[in-house]
């Protein structure tokens, strides 16, 4: 699937350069954080006279959580299960979840990337990382990076499959928020 099927940037006033550059900037930052493939539509609205900055996006859902079998190989040995990790990135979360499920005394770590679970119950299906929560964190980080720096009054409305991020120098009043939402809606329907 192509990243960013719809990507519109609208800047009020005579700011053609700014509009073009912000498009590049957003692409660069989303690419840096590995988010570009998870966002389907993106609408950016900037009014530099007010000044206000808003991004509305549709998230590509169905990101499954990472299970133990996704991050390593699970082998059944004699009365125990062995987990051989492919990379150690998620070791901390994995240990935490195994200790919680089986108890500390049943988990051994003979080597840096090998874990032994002393149990008959397979750990293969245990959920290690909630990728959605991680994605949301990264997305918020990206949006803060994208927004112009002085825009310190921020509001982020996230739903299951969309997000609306607004930032302004002055207070975000209900009228302003309404105006931004209307603008984004008109961009979406255009």
């Amino acid at each position: 699937m192509e990243p960013l099927e719809v990507f519109k940037v609208e800047v009020t006033g005579d700011e053609e350069f700014g509009s073009k550059k912000y498009r590049e900037l957003i692409m660069d930052i989303l690419q840096d954080l590995g988010l570009i493939r998870s966002i389907g539509h993106l609408y950016v609205y900037i009014d530099i006279k007010k000044p206000v900055f808003a991004v509305y996006g549709l998230i590509r859902t169905n990101i499954p959580p990472l299970n133990v079998q996704d991050i390593g190989d699970v082998l059944k040995l004699d009365g125990v299960y062995q987990i051989k990790l492919n990379n150690e990135e998620h070791m901390e979360q994995l240990l935490k979840i195994l200790w919680q499920t089986y108890g500390r005394e049943r988990i051994e770590q003979p080597a840096r990337d090998v874990l032994i679970v002393v149990s008959d119950k397979s750990p293969a299906e245990l959920e290690v990382v909630d990728v959605k929560a991680e994605f949301r964190q990264d997305l918020t980080d990206a949006l803060i990076r994208v927004a112009p720096e002085g825009f310190r009054n921020r509001r982020n409305e996230m739903t299951e499959n969309s997000f609306l991020f607004m930032a302004a120098e002055e207070t975000l009043t209900p009228e302003l928020i309404y105006e931004i939402k209307e603008k984004i809606r008109s961009m979406e329907n255009a």
Binding site: G13, D14, E15, G18, K21, E24, P148, F151
Partner: protein
């Protein structure tokens, strides 16, 4: 006239180059040793340059002209946050360094925003201690026009780097405006981006030339490299400073990286062959940068002589 030159070559026999600089009556400004390579920044009389070229050819080194050598340039961003750093600011600072200038990166405390941006007195005075400054702004013309309050009170020439094309007349307090910079989230590597960096260097060069031309109208009592040499000789503690460049040269003076309170008296008593002391020909005061010593050489109209 002294020519600013950069030597790049092996460590082996680089001291011969240093000796020749001294023999020719030049000054070593900076010496950087990186493993087996050495980078020397120095000033030599232009008429003796062929002698230097012969020696360097023999040593298989390289000589390049460093037009900004002996100057200090501030690279100012609205803050030190990720929005402005590292790419644009670091690229410009590095490019300035390659051309021989000493670049200092300064992030303002509250320089962000269109309506709310501000600069305080300390920041203004710190930037004023440099020979020139580059202000890096963003991608919107409206913001760049509005933000002139940040550099209105700065006495040194200010080059503004921003994204869109803006007429210089719209920025009356700027020395020059260089477009196509703005906020960029990647390193400058395309040919067009490198050309933009060259244009910033050229603008800084013109700004410094203007300052130099102003100085020639009322010449300094003595040249900053000469003061640097005398301080290095008579205040040997400066060689033990942890700074990579213990004495920073400016067009109108030097900054000594030693604590002001402890070394001010010793600095004031630095004596030249002509019999004058440093305190007679320069203003020695605490620098705005840490607790360093700032030395500003007085013009001949104030001291009545030049040596």
């Amino acid at each position: 006239m002294l020519e600013p030159i950069m030597f790049t070559g092996g460590v082996y026999k680089h001291d011969v180059v240093m000796e020749l600089v001294e023999d020719l009556g030049g000054y070593i400004l900076q010496k950087n040793i990186t493993q087996s390579e050495v980078i020397l920044l120095f000033l030599v009389p232009s008429e003796d340059l062929p002698a230097m070229q012969d020696l360097v050819k023999e040593l298989r080194g390289e000589l390049t002209r460093a037009p900004l050598a002996g100057t200090e340039v501030a690279v100012v961003t609205p803050t030190l946050a990720i929005h402005h750093l590292p790419h644009v600011a670091c690229d410009i600072a590095e490019y300035l360094r390659r051309n021989g200038a000493k670049s200092n990166m300064i992030g303002l405390a509250r320089g962000v925003g269109r309506e709310i941006s501000q600069i305080n007195e300390y920041e203004t005075m710190l930037i004023n201690e440099h020979d020139s400054a580059v202000f890096i702004f963003g991608n919107f013309a409206e913001c760049i026009r509005k933000k002139e309050n940040l550099y209105r009170n700065i006495n040194v020439p200010v080059v503004i780097a921003g994204g869109p094309d803006i007429n210089k007349k719209d920025l009356p307090y700027a020395f020059e405006y260089v477009p196509s910079v703005g906020r960029i989230a990647h390193r400058s590597r395309k040919a067009t981006e490198l050309v933009t960096l060259d244009r910033i260097i050229a603008a800084i060069g013109r700004a410094l030339d203007r300052t130099r031309a102003e100085i020639t109208k009322d010449p300094l009592t003595t040249s900053p490299p000469r003061v640097m040499d005398a301080v290095r000789e008579q205040v040997p503690e400066v060689e033990y400073s942890y700074s990579p460049l213990p004495i920073a040269l400016n067009l109108t003076g030097i900054r000594i990286k030693l604590p002001y309170e402890k070394y001010k008296d010793k600095t004031q008593e630095v004596r030249f062959d002509e019999g004058v002391t440093l305190k007679e020909i320069a203003v020695i005061k605490p620098s705005r940068m840490k607790d360093y010593i700032s030395v500003r050489i007085l013009p001949s109209s104030e001291t009545g002589f030049v040596f």
